[in-house]
Symmetry: C2
Amino acid sequence: MNATMTPHELRQKIRLGQHSGNTSGYSEGYVQCNLVILPVDWAAEFLQFCQQNPKPCPLIAMGQPGEFDLPGMGVDLDIRTDIPRYRLFKDGSLVDEVEDVSAHWRDDLVVFLLGCSFSFEEALLNDGLDVRNISEGVNVPMFRTNIPCKPAGRFSGNTVVSMRPFLPVDAIRAIQICTRFPSVHGAPIHFGDPSQIGIEDINRTDFGDAVSLKAGETPVFWACGVTPQVALEQAKPPFCITHSPGCMLVTDLPNSRLAVM
Amino acid sequence: MNATMTPHELRQKIRLGQHSGNTSGYSEGYVQCNLVILPVDWAAEFLQFCQQNPKPCPLIAMGQPGEFDLPGMGVDLDIRTDIPRYRLFKDGSLVDEVEDVSAHWRDDLVVFLLGCSFSFEEALLNDGLDVRNISEGVNVPMFRTNIPCKPAGRFSGNTVVSMRPFLPVDAIRAIQICTRFPSVHGAPIHFGDPSQIGIEDINRTDFGDAVSLKAGETPVFWACGVTPQVALEQAKPPFCITHSPGCMLVTDLPNSRLAVM
C-alpha cells in the first residue's frame, strides 16, 4: 500500500499533514531527493560546489529564484509543503524542525534537489543483492573521511561516505550496477581497509547506525548526501532549509530514468 | 615500429618465418586471440564449455570443419601459418612445438578463437592505470582456484585466474573499464583475500610470474584463458593444436570493436 502509492498521492497526503515521517519504502520505483534551499546570493557557489563534487552532491534539479514548483519533478508539486519534515538553519545552526515552510518562503530562495541512495539501493535489491542496512532495518552507517571535496567559494569540507558490506563478487556486481546511476552517487569510491580513507573504527559510525559485517565480506564505501550538509554547516549561510534526514521529496521520476545506459 | 605494424603485415612476417616470438606489444590497438583447434567430434562439447563459462572462455570466432581462413578476423588470414608458434597435443600431452601446422591440417579440424587479456590491459593502460605485469616486464601471475567451471561433455575443471594489484579506487575504475569488454574476460571475478577462491600463497604462482604488491593495494583477479587449456589437458582429446603461450593470433579487429558500450 505504502510501496504502491503514487508519488502524487503521497505528496498530497504529506501536504495535508497526513504523513509526517520517513519516506523510505514509499512509492517504490520513484526517485527520492535530498533538499537544500539557499538564498540566491549563496546559490551560485553551492551550484559550483555540486558541479565540482558530483559524487557526494549529484544535482538532479535546481529552481529559479523564488520558484517552488520545480517543473518536471512532479505534477502539482509544491516544495514548501510536499516534504514530511524540514530543518531550518540560521548561520549554520539548526533552529527549528517543521512540517511546512510556507511561512518561511522568500522570493530570493533557490531550491536544489540532490540524488539519494534509495535509488541505487533499489537497483541492488532488484538484482538480488543483500543491502545490509535494509535487511537489518537500520539507517545506513555513515562516516567522515579524509577525502577533501573541491572547495567552491564559501563551501568546503571532507567527503562523508555510506558503507554497505558485500562479498567481493557481490561488490563487483554492485560497482557495475551503481556505475549506471551517476546522479545518485554512482560507483563506490573505496572498498576494503577503512583507514585508507581516514576511518578509524568501522564499528563507530559518525552518522546512522552500525551494521554487521559477515565472514568474507568487505566494506564498500559510497560518497554520501550528508557531505553537502556538512559543507553547509561549515559555510554557515544566514538562512538555509533542508529536509529532515529520511524525509525526502518523492518525485514523479522513475528510478530507471536515472540510468545512463 | 613493432607497435605500429599492421596486423596484416605482422601475419605476413610470421608466415614467412621472420617472426617466431611473442606478439605482446605488436600491432597495438588490435585484438589478439587464444587459439584452440579440435577434431569436429570434440568441437560441439568444447563450444558448449565456452558457452557455459564465458568469463574464462570468451569465444570470439569459430570456424566450420576444415576452415582455416576465419573470414572477418583478418585479410588473407591462414590460421595454419599466421601464428608464431603452435603446440601439438596427443591424448592431452604436449608432443611438439612448431612454427607451422600446415602438415598437420585435417579436414575435420575446427578452429576456436578466444579473447585474450591483452585487449583489456590496453584499455587499462590507456586510462592511466598501472598494469603491474607490464610495468615490471613480466608475465602476468596466474593461479588455479577452487571455482569450478560448468562442465560440458568431457570438458571440466576449475577456473584459472590472472592477478593484477591495484589501489581500491583504481580497482573500481578497472572493474568499470573491463565490464565494457565481456569478450576478453570482462569484469574481475574476485578481489582481496586470495584464500576465498582457494589460492594459498599469492607469492607462489601456478603459471606466469609473481609481481609486487605495493602498500594499500589489493589483488584483483580475472578469469583467465589458461582455464580452457587446463580443461583440455584433463579431457585428453586424441588430437589438439593451441598457440604457444604469448604467441597469439593478431587479428584485424580493433580492440574498441569489442566494447559493448
